[in-house]
């Protein structure tokens, strides 16, 4: 880290300016707060609109002002139609999303942790080459993969199966990278050597010593993969073509196309809006409670590079 080189030394002897600057800053400060609040409104606006609209009937969507509630409160009616429309297909999409995301998250974080740990703690033949290939794969656009993946999956008969979504989601090169960095920081070599002296096998050392220390990193990847799979649209769009296998994203997009096709005359608009609300609720809750882990995942990659 070449941090210290690039700092220009400020001119000495300008001590008192600091306090003057603070007094002058009152208006600047208010303007900045105004700017921050306006942006906050911008970022929250679509969510606010969604919450308001999910309490309206389809007619009220057209007849009342979009950013405020209608006189009557129709959220429960909308929820009922979301869950019962088309024989309750929404519930199946919800179940699919949960199933795909949970399996992918657990599998991917286990696999990435194991791989990251090995890259961090073993000197092995071909290590640098392998790691370079894995890192390089982050740069490859998903598109280049999507079409051949579809063709190969259909050759082995995996189209319209959960595996077609879960298996590709288990590969997280970025996760491997994160776990390597995390392991290097969190686990001293001596600790592993101590375990070896005590005669523990490598698998045992990983399972009962390393994994415990790596838990925060593990949870971070768990979370990132969960959200990544939950939010994924492109892959399931390709590898499923029967509504029974759709996750929420593809299902809702499908309802949206239908709604647009009918020119909004059907109840589908409210379905899409209320369905969207339901499908992001678990994410928002998880996001608020587990934000420490989110932030971990986004940070250690960048801080260290």
């Amino acid at each position: 880290m070449a941090i210290t080189e690039s700092i220009p030394v400020a001119a000495p002897g300008a001590g008192a300016r600091q306090r003057a600057g603070r007094r002058r800053g009152w208006t600047t400060r208010s303007l900045i707060m105004l700017f921050m609040v306006l942006l906050l409104i911008y970022f929250i606006l679509p969510l606010f609109w969604m919450i308001v609209s999910s309490t309206k009937t389809n007619e009220e969507l057209f007849s009342t002002f979009g950013l405020w509630f209608a006189p009557d409160f129709n959220l429960f009616g909308n929820l009922a139609s979301v869950f019962t429309y088309d024989n309750g297909i929404f519930l199946i999409w919800l179940r699919n999303s949960v199933y795909y995301a949970v399996c992918s998250a657990i599998g991917a974080s286990l696999i990435a942790t194991l791989a990251g740990y090995v890259f961090a703690k073993f000197q092995f033949v071909g290590r640098n080459l392998l790691f370079a290939i894995i890192l390089g794969s982050i740069m490859v656009p998903n598109t280049a993969l999507a079409i051949p993946l579809y063709l190969l999956l259909s050759k082995v008969g995996l189209i319209n199966t959960a595996l077609a979504i879960i298996l590709p989601s288990l590969v997280t090169p970025f996760g491997v990278y994160l776990m390597r960095v995390y392991t290097e920081q969190a686990i001293p070599d001596d600790l592993l050597d101590a375990g070896r002296v005590d005669g523990a096998g490598e698998l045992r050392i990983f399972w009962s010593i390393a994994l415990r220390i790596l838990m925060p990193g593990f949870v971070t990847i768990l979370l990132l993969t969960f959200v990544g799979t939950w939010n994924n649209y492109f892959l399931p769009l390709l590898v499923t073509n029967s509504p029974a296998y759709y996750p929420l994203t593809v299902g809702l997009a499908n309802w949206n196309s239908l709604a647009q096709g009918f020119g909004g005359s059907q109840i589908l608009f409210t379905l899409v809006i209320t369905g969207s609300l339901v499908s992001i609720l678990p994410l928002i809750v998880g996001f608020l409670f587990l934000q420490r882990y989110w932030q971990n995942g986004l940070t250690f990659g960048s801080v260290r590079s």
Partner: protein, 315 residues
């Protein structure tokens, strides 16, 4: 601590040399165990990354003809891609976004990160969470919501314009569509980029600018001459991810395309074009070639950018 560590090392290497035959132990530690642990990842990586990629490259050199079946044609698909106006139309659209939207988004993210890191702002947690929130929303749902907000029928902006007897804003028109998509992407990703930069700022030890503060440097000076240079690696990371994401744009235009199919045609972005070729027209070979050209474009842009910034930093 240092000495203790050295001591354990000595003991271990002693034991190691007395235990099983050296060659077996070497093989075990350098090949056997590492690869055993890596096996799950490597298998999946091979099956779901390397093999599909190789397969795509392979089929991109063939053409399926009604008469004569699959024929090897060398680089013909690539030549066709280079001459394909539809493909370049999409490339032009994503390049416009790359050149205009990405700097706006990252500039905004940097300003917000610096403000959150400064002494000026109160309620930091509220702002940070609020700005970051759109990242937690699936991009499909983000695009759906903005699609409704843009709508000429139920969109609140249209309603507001009507109240003031103004013409309805043309979000989903030929001239408005690219800014509208840019807005969705900015809305969704500013917070993410802000958090990456903010976290990098947090890891800068405050002693580094305490001295400058005492010497009367303004907050602006500190941001400009100390903080931004120090978090340059994080900024580079956000730029590279933005380049990759923007050039591959698919979800947002695809969702909006369901609303205004005559404005967003199926070759609006290169990724949408490849999808259409592959899944509507069944032209897998040509779609694979298009994907590779797009991949090449992505690679060139990210690589050139990293090269340029590395040069800049070494100077």
């Amino acid at each position: 601590m240092q000495q203790e560590a050295g001591a354990t090392h000595l003991i271990i290497s002693d034991i190691g040399s007395k235990r099983p035959p050296a060659r077996w132990s070497f093989w075990r530690r350098r090949v056997g165990i590492p690869y055993l642990f890596l096996l799950p990842f490597l298998l999946l990586f091979a099956f779901f990354f390397l093999i599909p990629l190789g397969y795509a490259l392979w089929i991109s050199f063939f053409v399926e003809r009604l008469v004569g079946g699959t024929v090897f044609v060398g680089g013909q698909n690539y030549l066709q891609a280079f001459r394909d106006a539809n493909f370049w139309f999409g490339v032009r659209n994503v390049l416009v976004l790359l050149i205009i939207q990405v700097p706006v988004m990252l500039g905004l993210a940097l300003v917000l990160a610096l403000l959150l890191d400064s002494q000026i702002v109160r309620l930091k947690t509220l702002f940070r969470l609020g700005y970051f929130l759109p990242y937690a929303i699936p991009s499909v749902i983000g695009a759906l919501l903005w699609g409704y907000l843009y709508s000429a029928h139920i969109g609140p902006f249209t309603q507001l314009a009507a109240v003031f007897h103004m013409p309805a804003p043309g979000f989903l028109t030929d001239s408005g569509i690219i800014p509208s998509i840019g807005n969705i992407v900015t809305w969704q990703w500013t917070g993410y980029n802000m958090v990456v930069m903010y976290a990098a700022l947090q890891s800068v030890p405050t002693e580094l600018y305490d001295a400058a503060l005492v010497d009367g440097a303004s907050g602006w000076d500190i941001a400009r001459y100390i903080k931004i240079p120090l978090i340059a690696p994080a900024i580079v990371l956000t730029v590279v991810f933005s380049i990759i994401g923007t050039l591959q744009l698919f979800n947002e235009p695809n969702i909006l395309g369901a609303i205004v199919p005559n404005i967003i045609q199926d070759h609006f972005t290169p990724n949408m074009y490849a999808y259409t070729l592959g899944f509507t027209n069944q032209q897998y070979n040509y779609a694979a070639a298009i994907s590779f050209v797009l991949g090449g474009v992505v690679f060139v842009f990210s690589y050139v950018f990293m090269l340029v910034t590395n040069r800049g930093r070494q100077r």
